[in-house]
Symmetry: C5
Subunit: 161 residues, 5 copies
């Protein structure tokens, strides 16, 4: 994800603080994979936001501000964990966050990777963060999100050049 | 949330009048927490709206008018309580309000905090306003919304500067 | 809702013709309440549309045309009754109408009141039009919509001035 | 739907080819009713599209192209039949088509009539095309869509003048 | 799909890598059918994206970049396979992808064909890729998508001329 002719773009990772331990694993999985793909650690910015509803807004503001400074991000991975509770909060937040992240990508022209787990149980979330009770069923989805971010950055950069 | 170089921005709280007693607790939880975080009471505006469907429109109009006056709000907390009834009103209002509040944040560039409870029972709403029958299960979500508002105001202000 | 310094704005009521008797009661409840709140009858325009899907489009066109003529409406109450049938028509119309009315408010800057009942039975609709079998459970929601219209007109007019 | 002072606007009917026999009845019901309401047959354009997902896009492109040519359509009736199958295709297509048609009306300023049946069984669709097993339960909804198109054309034309 | 007076437009196929074998069949069905309809193989571009959430963004960026280069695509077929899992990921991705693809068509003015299967079981997906256990129930939907792409390209090109 080096882009010699531009100010060095960096992937950005945004993540929420709910279910903090699971989120931390997903963030680590994303960051480590980005590094293993050749992205210099100094080129990865990680930003906290309160919850999944704030992810689209924060992504939009940070992507636009970086572009305005002449140091655009190559991609943004929006990471969060939503787990079904007893009210309908899960459904409305999940829907608004997923639609919002789609909109932010389409409006800004920068790739936004959906790193939001929408699980019915906490165990489902742990499995998708590589920390399930059964290692055979565990896989850290942060790995996939990092690969997607690099791939989408490479695909979409020429479309803005 | 002091912003010395700009006209003093204030957080705005919008809230509905349905389920008035629960809403009042949520508003108090938000306001008290904002104050405890150092926001001067004179810098907090509280505005009534009729119901949750009106929250996104009111948020947009007030955020834009304040910015046009040169005294922008730092953030807006939209507070309401929706409880499942016998018709489908709950589902359509909840969905329209959550999508609308997301849109208003993305369109205006000001952080809008989703302070709308979407509950299946009134007891669920009371618990989330810190007034449930079982104190151990009660927590006033207004506290979290105030923290989110301050955090998102700090995160997003430089993106508009 | 008198606005001395502008061309006299009027509230507009839009309503559908499905479930005509129930709609007529809701329109009457809205109109009578607007009058009781001091809105001159000559300042209330009532317009028919075929069904709920047409409400957002009609609201947008009439609000914009009135503004372009220099005689803006202060608010628009969109009234309709949707009742669950055997196909999925109810669900898709309800969703599109509620989202559309939200969008029209946000796009035009004029308050649009959601006067659409989304009921599972006709009796539920009658109760919400003040004509249920059990008077104790009956309440004409048009009364609330009129109050909301006046309140939102007062709240939002300075934001456009 | 004669509009003497403008280039003669025509209603446009768009329809899909899935469930072709039922669609043909709905198109005939719409066209015949438009004629009975005084729209000259030469003023009705009928256009095929592959499926319901294509209706909003085709409506937008044709409405805009006609307006750009100085021969705007007075309205567009988008006709299709969706029937629940074993996958979730029905739900996602129905939702995207209904939202898309709403958006096209709001964006173009031309009335778009939702002539899309969203049925759980084929018999439900036949009944709504006037061809159910029980004639007493059968009614061709194309008749209503034609009436809606004429009504919305009359209502909305002055808003664009 | 030859368009003599313009730079030769090409149909674009975008596809995801999840459920790779089924996707490969759908891509082959689409490509072969485009060829059988007279589209020169050199005029068909096939692009990989990580998953269905990335389809709308990639479609928008590639359609716009091609138009900016003076070599617009005639249409884009977005191909992917989503299968219901144990979390709610399927529902939120399906919804965001279908709405996003609709939006991209409406915003760019280029036809986007929904080639996304939203299935409850893998066997349902295999059947729709022409590889079900029961050949009589198997049909490669790529064939239909190719036909739709050609038809929509022909329908929509004059609307942009």
């Amino acid at each position: 994800m080096r882009c010699a002719r531009h100010a060095p773009p960096r992937p950005k990772e945004l993540h929420t603080r709910w279910n903090a331990e699971i989120v931390a694993r997903l963030v680590a999985g994303t960051t480590d994979t980005l590094a293993s793909l050749g992205v210099a650690p100094g080129h990865i910015d990680v930003v906290d936001v309160p919850g999944a509803f704030e992810l689209p807004f924060a992504a939009q503001q940070l992507l636009r501000a970086a572009a305005a400074r002449g140091a655009p991000y190559a991609a943004c991975v929006a990471i969060g964990v939503l787990i079904k509770g007893s009210t309908m909060h899960f459904e409305y937040i999940s829907d608004a966050a997923c639609h919002g992240l789609m909109d932010v990508g389409l409006r800004t022209g920068f790739p936004v990777i959906l790193g939001v787990l929408t699980c019915l149980t906490e165990e489902q979330a742990r499995e998708r963060a590589g920390a399930g009770a059964d290692p055979a069923r565990s896989h850290n989805h942060g790995i996939d999100w990092a690969v997607s971010a690099v791939e989408m950055a490479l695909l979409s950069q020429p479309t803005r050049a």
